[in-house]
């Protein structure tokens, strides 16, 4: 049987080198596993499920990994597969990556997202609540809830609506941080700042938001952007680095001209 062809009954076989770490305090190490009977149509996470069923049947600990929707929209899955966040495909989350993308017999390395701001929890799961804290600092608009306003009462030019919508597709997965040589969070923050800076609803808090989110981002211990653009290449939603340029503009504008430093905590 040559590599690439499916094995007996059309299934595939893999050697997995998986990062195992009992807790944040544990040192962690790679452990090799063999997994057989993998259907080419399984997603990467389903393949891990299969591995875990085998481990549990043997009385071993299952490999912990984050997941939720498994349809590419929640941003929970967070694997570095063969050195690439979410694996080899462009614009694809790990949960939407299919095993037919690999060759039967391959050795696949699976690691967690690695960044000081994403501390290890267990095995492949890391704590990405740093993103939640950045959002809490300014990634929202303050508005009265209640019945939805009439949609056409606030006109939005189509190109701006499109750009805002593109930025809004960020699912907060953190692959940009994982792929960044500096573990910087600029693409995520840029997407959130852009999304709201482009829309009329975001205007009242525009300056305060970017100053506060920059501050929260730096406080979490992410690295500094050096425009390597690996974030854009790894982003499952194809968020463009042009949003980072917008973040830089928004920040410079607010830092130079925004008067209300008291409220933003003197940025």
């Amino acid at each position: 049987m040559s590599a690439g062809q499916a094995g007996s009954a059309g299934t595939m076989h893999f050697t997995l080198k998986i990062w195992r770490q009992k807790s944040a305090k544990d040192a962690g190490r790679f452990v090799s596993y063999e997994v057989s009977g993998v259907s080419p149509d399984m997603s990467f996470l389903e393949m891990l499920d299969l591995l875990n069923e085998g481990l549990i049947a043997k009385g071993d600990e299952a490999v912990a990994f984050d997941h939720d929707c498994r349809e590419g929209i929640c941003g929970m899955c967070s694997l570095v597969i063969n050195g690439q966040a979410h694996g080899p495909d462009k614009n694809t989350t790990a949960c939407q990556l299919y095993m037919r993308r690999f060759q039967s017999g391959d050795t696949i390395t699976v690691e967690p997202f690695r960044a000081r701001a994403f501390p290890a929890l267990r095995d492949l799961a890391v704590d990405r609540s740093a993103f939640d804290r950045i959002m809490a600092a300014g990634g929202f608009i303050s508005t009265n809830t209640g019945s939805a306003p009439e949609a056409n009462s606030v006109p939005v030019p189509k190109p701006k609506a499109d750009a805002a919508m593109d930025a809004a597709t960020c699912i907060g997965c953190g692959a940009c941080v994982a792929a960044c040589p500096n573990a910087a969070a600029m693409l995520f923050v840029a997407a959130k700042v852009s999304h709201m800076a482009l829309l009329p609803q975001g205007q009242p808090e525009r300056e305060r938001r970017v100053l506060a989110m920059r501050k929260a981002m730096d406080a979490e211990g992410f690295g500094n952007c050096s425009n390597e653009y690996e974030c854009e290449a790894a982003c499952p939603k194809g968020i463009s680095v042009s949003n980072i340029a917008r973040l830089n503009r928004e920040y410079a504008r607010a830092a130079l001209f925004f008067a209300d430093h008291a409220e933003s905590g003197k940025s």
Partner: protein, 214 residues
């Protein structure tokens, strides 16, 4: 002083300041190269130009500004790089690029350190030479040494790499990114980087091979 510390505290402000100093240094390099080309014209032309510069009353101020730009660019950029190393304490077993990085962007720290070494040697041999009465002879003497010339050319290779990423990166840092212009900015960045570096590297090689204009 307080505002300089604030600048270092904000990742984005720091980055803009590094890029601004970097772009101003590119401007300096262009002027510096134009001056160096007087070497081709022989001792009178080169020494005349040097004297002309030295007699300019604005020179001390310009030199202080230049030193400040270099020091700020180097210090803030190296602080940034040190912070970035700390941002990922546990590295990947394998990290494979997905298509964002370039040779220039990958090698920024390495080219920066080589340029720093070059800068120190360069200042020591020319700016702070003990006898600067005949600068043409001073320069030409060093350019007869093939190790000196080799190091010079190597450093200019580093400059080409540094600027091939640096110039276009600075535009992004200033917030200039547009589908119509960014592809041109990237190409121009590489062309300017290579032209500047090749211009500087040409002179010592010419001096070594042709023995200079005598």
């Amino acid at each position: 002083m307080r505002c300089l510390v604030d600048l270092l505290e904000s990742s984005i402000a720091k980055k803009i300041s590094v890029a601004l100093a970097g772009i101003l240094l590119v401007g300096f390099l262009a002027v510096h190269l134009a001056g160096n080309l007087f070497l081709l014209e022989g001792p009178q032309a080169f020494n005349g130009y040097a004297e002309h510069l030295a007699n300019n009353p604005l020179l001390p101020a310009a030199e202080i500004l230049l030193a400040a730009l270099f020091l700020w660019h180097i210090a803030a950029a190296l602080v940034t790089r040190a912070q970035n190393r700390k941002a990922r304490p546990e590295g990947y077993q394998s990290q494979r690029a997905k298509g964002g990085r370039t040779w220039g962007s990958r090698s920024m720290t390495a080219t920066a350190l080589l340029l720093l070494a070059f800068l120190i040697v360069h200042l020591k041999s020319f700016r702070f030479a003990s006898d600067r009465s005949d600068l043409y002879a001073l320069v030409m003497k060093d350019f007869q040494n093939k190790y000196y010339v080799g190091f010079y050319v190597l450093a200019m290779g580093a400059l080409a790499l540094h600027l091939s990423h640096g110039i276009q990166s600075a535009f992004q840092t200033f917030g200039v990114n547009h589908p119509r212009y960014t592809p041109w900015i990237k190409r121009t960045s590489v062309v300017v980087a290579v032209l500047l570096a090749a211009g500087f590297a040409f002179l010592p090689v010419w001096a070594l091979v042709a023995g200079g204009a005598r």
